[in-house]
Amino acid sequence: MESSKYARLSTIDELMKMSKDKEVSRRSFVKYAAGAVVAVGVAGAAGYYLASQPAPPSPTVTQTLTQTIAPTATATSAPKPAMLDHYQWFFGPEIVKKTLDRFTADTGIKTNQHVSPRNGYEAGMMTKIMGGAEVDTMEVGIGYRDSWFNAGWLLSLEGLPGVDQVKNEMFPSVRDFYLSKNGELMAMPYYLAGWFPYYNKRMVAELGAEPAKDRNEVYEQCKAAKKKWNLLSPYHSCYLEATEWLWEQYIVELGLMPFDKDNKPLFEGDPRNAEALKWMKTMFDEKLMSPSIFTDGWDVQSLNFAKGNTIYMDTHQYMAEPVNRSMTGDVPEKGNMTLVPKPYGGNDSRIVTQGEWMAICKSTHSKEWAWELLKYLSWKDPSGKYALLKDWGVTGLLEPYPEFFNDPDVKKNFDEWNPGVGFEGYRKYFDGMMMVPYWQLRPWFAEFSEVAKETVQKYVLGQVSLSDLEKTMGDKAREVTTG
């Protein structure tokens, strides 16, 4: 023992001595560093070679599982994978888990639920997919679906059993939200939303007014509300995330689409564009919008409504649920957030549909079984009942199926937090007052959208003129749509 201890000490002494007496020469540093680089290179090349080899087939568990688990009415006879990996962002992970567990109980296929924060989810998925992660089913956000589909990351659902039925069961007004230009089903519904207009029932009544029918009336009532209650933000919406989407909503109400079907920008020089933008600027300049509207997130806008700082708001419907059904007892405006009966701007006016998707990834273990799981997650289970969608209904999400609107549980839930309007109010919108923003589904839209967002913000802040805005956005539109 002693001798080895001294031997070690001796070596350390030598090293110490070496480091003192003899500085590491440049030559030896280069020699060893080069050796290390070569080693890393060889290891990397070997790793790359191994990773690029086809993966061994997943073990199938059909035999053992059929002995222990009741057979189900699934539509595929494909070999069962041992595991399906589902990726989602952090919204209702426990609700999804229940459905995943039900799928496992029905089929015997285990599921692995991967949950990421919503912020940065797509960036994370891009790195995972590019890095070769095994992904079976995944949630896909606005602005990414078509790019990922075109890149081959998402698999077409055409030809899978039941796909035609899914398409037929959708509201015709929103069906295009799921289809490619060729009518191909690219992904399944996660949820649908719209830029629904809301007003504060109590405050509008106290002003002696009726719910606004157009943006001018919104302006007038906000002005009156500011005067009466000294409000800091009579109108609110989530401009931090959605400035450009709201600009699109405002021009759509005036009958102007930002792009035609061939991606040609239509907003340049159109007086309706000027009208919508001037409304935004006037609302901001006259402090009828919060001065902090460009940095206020979804939480702040809801808080403003809940506390009575806001009388009008455009927002996705699920943002009304926490205001109207607050359990904290500290929400003065609970029950007052009310859906405006019709979109602003006349009978032809529409609400821009938005929503997000569930898709099958190219790296799936089994396309057939991923499809079976997808049906649980965004349609019906084999018994013909909505599996997850009913649970989503409780949280305020909407789905594109008329049958969903007939479900008594979902209806009861929506009626609870939409007093006086009820679920019927939303159904009316789906029966012809929604429109699919085809331009938002194009692969180039994400880039245009970012530039539109900052340019519209700059216009409202007085940093650019209307003509500069139209030129910047028009040039960007042409740049991105022509590749």
Binding site: T11, E14, L15, M18, V24, S28, Y32, A33, A36, V37, A39, V40, G44, P117, N119, G120, E122, A123, M126, M130, G143, S147, W148, N150, A151, G152, W153, L232, S233, L240, E241, S290, P291, S292, F294, T295, D296, G297, V300, L303, N304, K307, N309, A446, E447, E450, E454, Q457, K458, L461, Q463
Partner: protein, 287 residues
């Protein structure tokens, strides 16, 4: 085995680790920056075209002075506040152990959480600062701290809160190595508190301050989390610093070549600032 060989063998795992984590991503970023890369993996060499594109982008050009402005405010603030905190925590008083333990908490906090906390602190309608100023009767109407004019300094305050803690912990450790005899001798010679700070404390903690300034500088020049959470680069492009621009170009525009080119510019800026700083200050300290 020769001692020199043994020495190299001992450091080899660390060298490999650094190379794997540093060299590979850098090489990959270089590859992306000089290529047009599609999502499906198709890659074409395009030379300097990605750099030419970003140089024509007004948002990118605007993000460079914003990044320097943010870094200057944050590093200056973090150094001054961190030094002050360390000097206070170094005094002998009841509860000093608790205070010294608390010093490190901001640095240990998740940066995203720091962003959320400060976003609420600065909130126009519900923020603590407006609420406090209002209750003290100091303001007639609430202040929008995240306006075009003040958003960058406001985000920088969050950065200072985070990084001053890092500075304070290191400076405090350095302060505790100073022999009290120096101060006693200086006092006998009639040196006041400011003189003692200038001629004893600062020269001794200078190497540590150099390290914290350099480290904070690197962090500030590449700060992403706090900006993303608090403003997402807005309002308009008021807080669109380089890291935010790289993120949106890479992940939102899905232009991987241009996004990688921006990250390389960021790396070059960090080196251009960091290397002369290291050279000048370490030469001054050690020669």
């Amino acid at each position: 085995m020769k001692a020199e060989t043994l020495g190299w063998l001992l450091v080899l795992p660390a060298v490999l680790f650094v190379l794997a984590l540093g060299l590979f991503p850098t090489a990959y970023a270089l590859l992306l920056a000089f290529s047009k890369t599609d999502l499906n993996g198709a890659q074409t060499f395009v030379g300097l075209s990605n750099f030419a594109k970003i140089m024509r982008d007004p948002d990118f050009l605007n993000s460079i002075p914003l990044t320097f402005g943010f870094a200057a405010m944050t590093v200056t603030g973090a150094t001054l506040v961190g030094l002050a905190m360390a000097l206070v925590a170094n005094q002998q008083f009841r509860g000093k152990t608790i205070v010294r333990s608390i010093l490190g908490i901001p640095w240990a906090t998740s940066w995203v959480a720091v962003g959320v906390m400060w976003a609420f602190t600065f909130d126009l309608n519900h923020g603590y600062i407006n609420s406090l100023l209002s209750q003290l009767g100091l303001i007639a109407s609430n202040i929008n701290f995240l306006s075009v004019e003040t958003a960058l300094p406001a985000v920088s305050v969050a950065g200072v809160w985070l990084l001053s803690s890092f500075t304070a912990v290191f400076v405090l450790a350095s302060l505790q190595t100073i022999d009290p005899a120096y101060y006693e001798a200086a006092k006998i010679d009639g040196a006041g508190a400011l003189h003692r700070l200038r001629h004893i404390t600062l020269p001794i903690v200078q190497p540590v301050l150099n390290f914290t300034v350099l480290s904070n500088l690197m962090v500030s020049l590449t700060m992403f989390d706090i900006v993303y959470v608090m403003t997402k680069g807005g309002p308009g492009t008021a807080t669109l610093v380089l890291s935010m621009d790289a993120y949106r170009v890479f992940f939102q525009f899905m232009s991987m070549g241009e996004g990688a080119a921006i990250t390389l510019v960021m790396a070059a800026i960090s080196m251009m600032v960091g290397i002369p700083y290291l050279t000048i200050f370490y030469r001054r300290v050690y020669r």
